[in-house]
Amino acid sequence: MLRQYFLRQYFAQALLNKGVLSREQVVCLLASKDKHRSTIAMRALSQKVMPAVQVEEILKREEAPEKFGALAVAAGYMTQSQLRSLEEMESNTNLDFSQGMIDEKIVDYHTLESLLLEYENNATTIIDNAVQQIAAQIESFKELEDECALYSGYVDAFLRAMAQFMRTSPVINFSAEPFSGEKSVILISQRLTGDVSLAAGIMAEEDVFRRMAQRYSQEPDIEYTEEIVIDSVAEFLNVTNGLYLINLSNRHYTVDLAPHRVAYNIIPSANKQLVIPINADFGSFQLILAADEIAF
């Protein structure tokens, strides 16, 4: 189940970690995700129904793309029943993202096939690697393996919650984009105390906060006043931390949640603080993690 989740979710992150795609390319593909819906050719490749060599052979026949399935069946590369399964299959983030890379001619099917294979073999370490890459840039973090493991676990839970509750596929960036300075920057943080001490905060410009709030609350008909915006993002953080807390509780840690705190236009500072820049299709923000309360 967990492995299936990783396979659906973190392909873009894996390509960014590996340097196959630049941050700009990932952001661009995430932003245009609705333009790229996975084709039968893409589904056949990703489900290993057909290898890249067969996919490209059929595509080279210069017939209408919608005939791909029928041509593949006629060539004996898949059965009618396999075609039906591919047609009925629900698309997912990785499939649409892969389709975007093909449509934008960033990779061909052969390269994509190798990347997908490598991704499947390393899927469960992707978030650890991304957090470690960020931590490695900070001198004081080089000796803090336990904190890195704790933070990686949290980041994974956070990204999953974003995918689940905001229907987005966020990626971790390796260098923070500076805030423009033209808009207010908001920080909402919440602390977990007990057997595990961790503070987590979401920091973003107000317009990103607003879009994040709209995405989470799914209330198209309300006016997004500042109170609703703050409450929505705070509730998202609270729910995410609650799910993380249950996970810790299942591992026999006793942890409590403190009420959230809000600050405007501050530079956060805390013990063992790590700033994780995150890009989502609605904008960029920073996830601030620390061992104790974030001071402001």
Partner: protein
């Protein structure tokens, strides 16, 4: 015809109160709101209520403290916990203090419906 349940929602999030109010009104309940445990205790002492819904993580007076106070003042008033802090510790503590149910956030309407149905059933058994 079933009598409308009078429910007090206690949560510091205006978004959550708004969503919960909408869902409960759809289920035929009469809804009032409190923003923290202190307000919930005040309402429990003064307002005619059939059920209180309490979040746990709130500023000023949290949900567990409020539950303790409400149970002392009105031991027969059903209290339903609705919180993100759903570890076994929080669930056990709430149930030991007399909460009749615990729903983990984010809640589903069906969970809410079932909890209210149990409360109605309990009410008719005690009547």
């Amino acid at each position: 015809m079933e009598q409308k349940l009078r429910i007090l929602i206690t949560d510091d999030s205006s978004l959550l109160r708004r969503k919960l109010r909408g869902d409960l009104e759809q289920l035929g309940c009469e809804v009032s709101e409190a923003k923290n445990g202190k307000e919930a205790i005040m309402e429990a002492l003064t307002a005619p209520l059939d059920v209180i819904i309490l979040d746990i993580v709130m500023p000023e007076v949290d949900g567990v403290e409020a539950l303790r106070a409400i149970r002392q003042a009105r031991p027969d008033l059903p209290v339903l916990m609705l919180s993100s802090a759903g570890s076994s510790k929080h669930i056990i503590e709430s149930l030991q203090l007399g909460a009749i149910d615990f729903i983990q956030k984010p809640y589903g309407t069906e969970q809410l419906k079932q909890a209210l149905s149990r409360i109605r059933k309990r009410g008719s058994e005690n009547a």
